[in-house]
Each structure stands twice: as structure tokens, then as C-alpha cells.
Symmetry: C2
Subunit: 423 residues, 2 copies
Amino acid sequence: MTDYRKLWSDLGMDLEKHDRLTTALPLIYEEVYLQQPGRPQAMEYFDLVVAEIHSLRIAELVEHRRQGGKVCGAFCVFVPVEIIRAAGAVAVGLCGGSQFWVPDGERVLPRNLCPLIKASVGARLSGTCPYFQSCDLLIGETTCDGKKKAWEVLSEYAPVYVMDLPQMKRPEHLAAWRREVELFLAKIEQLTGCRVTPEKLADEIQLQNRLRQVLGRLYRARKADPVPISGKDVLLVTQVSFYDDPRRFIDKTEALAAEVEERIASGEGVFPSGVPRILVTGTPMAIPNWKLHHIIETSGAAVVCEETCTGTRFFEHQVDETGLTLEEQLQALADRYLKINCSCFTPNPGRIEDIFRLVEAYRVDGVIYYNLQFCHGYAVEYYAVEKALKERGIPVMKVETDYSEEDTGQLRTRVEAFLEMLR
Amino acid sequence: MTDYRKLWSDLGMDLEKHDRLTTALPLIYEEVYLQQPGRPQAMEYFDLVVAEIHSLRIAELVEHRRQGGKVCGAFCVFVPVEIIRAAGAVAVGLCGGSQFWVPDGERVLPRNLCPLIKASVGARLSGTCPYFQSCDLLIGETTCDGKKKAWEVLSEYAPVYVMDLPQMKRPEHLAAWRREVELFLAKIEQLTGCRVTPEKLADEIQLQNRLRQVLGRLYRARKADPVPISGKDVLLVTQVSFYDDPRRFIDKTEALAAEVEERIASGEGVFPSGVPRILVTGTPMAIPNWKLHHIIETSGAAVVCEETCTGTRFFEHQVDETGLTLEEQLQALADRYLKINCSCFTPNPGRIEDIFRLVEAYRVDGVIYYNLQFCHGYAVEYYAVEKALKERGIPVMKVETDYSEEDTGQLRTRVEAFLEMLR
């Protein structure tokens, strides 16, 4: 049996502080997840992943590195995981979803910065995230001012490579992004000492497409009424997809999707038919940030879709698999990733089209616009989204919050009032 | 005599609201500027410019447009003014320096956004900035999340063209920026219907180089002890450079520089020899944002240099004039503008080198890091700048503020304590 304390210690972690973190999580998880009635059986796997989030998967990463493999960490759905994997490295998400890490982040970052950035930097500085500690390279990007500049701070603690994402989507920006993808390939080859062949890259493109497809399949089930799985559970599955071994993740999520589809066939749901159906749109939610979903789903509504980076933005659009040469494959990767409608682009009309499409497909009654405090991109874009939704008569409410529990009562009151209006 | 009320009305301005704005400005100007002892005579011109800031220059813009010319507005030191002017258009700065406009900006933008952005959008929405009203095209850029997304809001009120500034400075980013400069040329030619010839562009490159050089000359005079001109006055001159006719501006600033140089020859200063010499570094200060300079210079110190976009970032580095073809000239423009060390780049080590160089050249005793509230780029970069300065034993203090007067007392106390430490 693995001695995880030794493993964490070998990774240079602060065991005492880490103990405080791991003591808190099960209590929150019990309340938020395990008390949900009628959960699909197949969620057991994801419960296990969370219970062992700093142990089982970390042991795999350590073993991978012991055999000479590399581990790359990233936060952002623009990082082409296919390339990392095709060079034999493992790609993992990084910690950044808990208030626990925020004070350590604020030691080096301004307070009025988004909690995701402060938490992630704090997770690294405090030595309490074994994913950060396991990384040979952190992959940054230039999606927002806060992250863009925070990579500079992180680079004092770990090797960092930054991809420059264009801020617009004119044809020349696709070309520039294509070039960034090529440079990224070169960097990863240099890191791993492995040459990326078209065969290996084709395999990984197929694998990530399958991963994206199985998430799409799970999401489709949420279109049913009654909804056969809670929004919280699907959010968790998506969150886990950033950390888990992709093949295992695909298997487990396929089993879950199959179970959920059976429920639809038998008309079984986790909420009564007719409860308000909510689309959440906005900034990502990293583990264990389940705050808004928990409030919504304990206030008599169901979250049926997330137009976020821990939602549709992550898995919609597949990489074209017909390319046989590296040239073609890199173009296909660049094409696919630049289809993501992040608020970092100006203008970003595709996001509004996405929201309209999802509102219709998921039979949404109301949209909750979720903004992590001080995220300028999504905060300013609310103006256009609100206007477009109101023109179509779609109810929308903006929520701006952080990771603290201070505003939970106030948020609940606002959510309840919004839901009341939808009934 | 021009009937300015008719002129403003023709520009679609809100005259009543504008009256409230123009009533307040002279009182502030009297206190901040006119009460300074021993000002150079040549500042009279700049006093006149401010007194007539919404009239004389606006009449020129209106006349230019009446003759079929175009006017382009911009905020940012990355916009290559040379191209605008070579196509026969006039380039002007836009309003954005007063708290007066902030509430109107907050009608469409989040509150926790930088006051410069909220004020500028508010200035346009409220119809109280005749520069905005006179523009045929607003030139945006992607330097920060707030501005990048605010252009989308502004585009509902006026035609906007956005230049995508790369977020890094690798060789491929210079190539991408060069391409943006080319596209910008095409856009300006389309707007004006005028072809930019190498001859015209050479003239405008020379003219802007002269403008930059005369600012450099004025700045050099500030190296003297006693300092022959106040920081407030030089800040004003730099601010005016964004609005004024460049030829007139160069003449008037040359006269000022000559007068100031005579003062140096005779050992004359506006502050006693030996007062603490302050470098201000950080975010730009748009008219009438003189808050920090006023506090510093009424607390017994002199601002001797600004490492800001309304300071050295605006005028350092000349465009190479040896290019004879458009190709060469566009490359020279791209090269020059990408030398600016804005915090929008990652990493941005050049800014720290600039600060070190300026601290030495201007014999600086202490650095005040000025950050407009919620500007993530400069806020996060403070970490690296502070560390670098402290390693060299250079005193530094961070000031984060907005346009309101609420924190003036507190700021004054902090500045005084900092200056006390320097003595």
C-alpha cells in the first residue's frame, strides 16, 4: 500500500497545511454531493476520485515520472492536450478552486484579482497541491490579464511556458495561433525528448475527441425532462476530466451516460418534472467550487447546462481526424481550439449564438450569468449577453462572487427570487 | 467669433451636462496649476489649451471635417499616429481622466473596472466629450481586458477598429504586429480614401519623431537640481501632446524647453535644491487626472520623471527614418512601437530595466508605483518591480487609487510618510 505521506513529502509539500485542506474537503463533499437523493450508481467512481484526489492519481503521476515520463500542468481549455500526450507526457489540471489557497495567493498578488488565479498561485506557494508539485512544466496562456501576469510570478517557482493566444479571430489570427501550436509542439518535444509522429498525434486526437464526445453524450441526457442527473454531478464529471487518465475517464463516463440514458427511457429523474431549468454561463468552476450549483439545486431548480470552460466550451467541437501529416494535424488542432468562444476574444459574438442554441436545446427557463469577482472579460461581456437575452425574452440574472462563504445567504436569496420569477 | 454652443450642439453633445463639467475644471486648474510659484512663462500656452480644451481644438477638428478630412480617436500609445496623419486624417486623444464621467460609464460597465475605461465610455455615452463626438473612427487595441472588451460597448455608439497587439515579444510576435500595422494602414486608407505614399509617411514619421524628441528634451531638463519645472507642468505638456496639432505643439514645447534650459544655466528651480526626487511609474494619467502629482508636489517633493504612457513610454524610441519604401517604413513603425514596455506583455523585463535607468538618470530618491484601481496588468507586475527595486535598495511605495477625491487625505498621509523616510 502506498505511503502517501512519504509521497507528498517527497514532492516537497507542506504536510501540516495539506492535512488541514484534506480534512475540510470530505465534510463539504458529504453535504454537497452525497446527500443528493437518487444519484446514478456510476457516480461512485467520481466520488472515489474526489476522495482520493491527492493520492491515487498522484501516485500514477509519480510512477510515470519515475519511468522517465514528464507531467505538464495547465488551467486552460486552449492548451492542446493532444500534443502533450503525443510526446508521451501526461497533462493534468492544476489546483485553483478553493478559498483555502486564496490567502497564500494574496501574499504575492493583489487582492482584487479573480479568486481562481489567487487560489492557484496560493496552491503552488503553499505547497499543498500535489498536481503543481508533480509538474515538470506549467503551460500558461494569455487569455486574461490576471493569468497572463500571474504566470510570471509562478515562473519563480516552476518552469513555465506561455502560449500567446490571439485576442481576435480574423484570418491572420488563426495563422498566428497555428504558429503558436507549432512552437508548442517544439517546446514539448524538447521537454520530453520524444518526437511527435503523425501516428502518435492521430491516436491522441482520436482519444481526446472520444473524451469530448462522451462529455457531449452525458450533456445530451440533460435535455430530458425530468433531468436524469444533477447539474452538480455533471459539473464534477467535467472537473474530473481535467485530472484523470483519459481512457479510464472515458470508460467510467460512458458507463454513467448509459445509466443516465436508461433513466430517461424509464422517465426517472433526480428532480421532479417541471422544475426550472437553468443554464449557467460565464467563468469556469474548478474543484471544489460547487457553490453556485449547490445553491441553485437546493433551491428547487436544476442546472441543465454550463456554457463555461468547465462545460460546453471544453468539449464542443472535435478535431478533424482526416489529416495524415503533422502539418494537417496541427492545422486541425489550431482550427478546433480557436473555435472556443472565450470572452478573451474581441468581439465574441459566437458566445451569444452558443447561449441561444443551448437555451433552446436544453429547454432552459432562465440563465444565470456566473462571474468570478474581478474577471473583467466576462464582467464586461455581460452587457452584450444580457441585452441579447432580454431582446429574446430569456430571463437572465448576473451573479458575481468569489470562493468565500460570506455571500452564500445573499446569493441564495437572489437565486430564490430569480427562480420564483421563472415559475 | 465661433459660437461654441452651436458647434457642440451640432456635434450632438448634451450641453447642460457639459456645462456642469466645464464649470468645475477652471476651479481645479486654478488650485492645481495656477497657484504654483515660479512657473515658466511658456506654460501660458498650455494654460490656454486647457482653458479652451473643448473649444479651440474642436473648432479645428470641425473645420478639418468640413473640408472632407477625417478624425481618428485613440487612447493608447501603441496606435501608430504616423499612419493616420499620412492619410490626411487627424489623430486625437479621447476623454477619460475625470470622475465626472465615471457614473455614466458604470451604466454599461462593471463598477470594479479601471476608472480610465469607465470614464472614457461614460464620456462618450453622456455626450460631453467633443473629441469623441468629432471622431469618424475610434482606434482600439487589445492591451488590457477592460479596454479590449469596452471597445465592444463603444462600437454601439461609434465606428471602432481594433488593433490586436501581441501579448508577448518573441520574434513571431513582432511579425504579427507588423501585419497588424499593415492592416491598420489599409483600414485608414479605406476610411480616408487617401493613399499613403512613402513620401507622406516619411514626413509624418519625421514629425512624430520631432514631437517625441522635444518631449525628451523637456524631460532631460528635469535631471537638473534644482528641478526647473514642476512634474505637474510636464505631465500637462505630455497630456496636451495627445490632443494638440503636432506642429504647434512642437513649437510651443521647444520654447518651453529653451526657457527651462535657461533656468538650469542660472541655477533657478521651482523647488528648493535637495527636495526628494520622485519617479512615478505605472498607469497613465489622462487630463484632468493630476491627483497624485498634486499631492506629491504639495508635500515637499518633486516629480522628476514618469515611467508611464503619459511619460517616457510615449516618447522614448524614435522610428528609424532611413526606410524609403512603405515596406521598410511599416517595419520601422512596428519595431518602434513594440519597444514600448507595457505591462500587457508577458514577461516584461524591459520595464524594470527602464525604471533602473530612469532612477539613475533622473537622480531619483524614491519610486511611487501608481496603479489605477482594478488594472490587473500593472497591479500584478508590482510584485516583480518592487522586488527588483528593493534588491537595489531603491525605496518604493505602491499607490492604488481611482478618480474620486475620497482617498485624497489618506493618500497625502501615505505620501508624506514615504517622503519623510527619504529625507
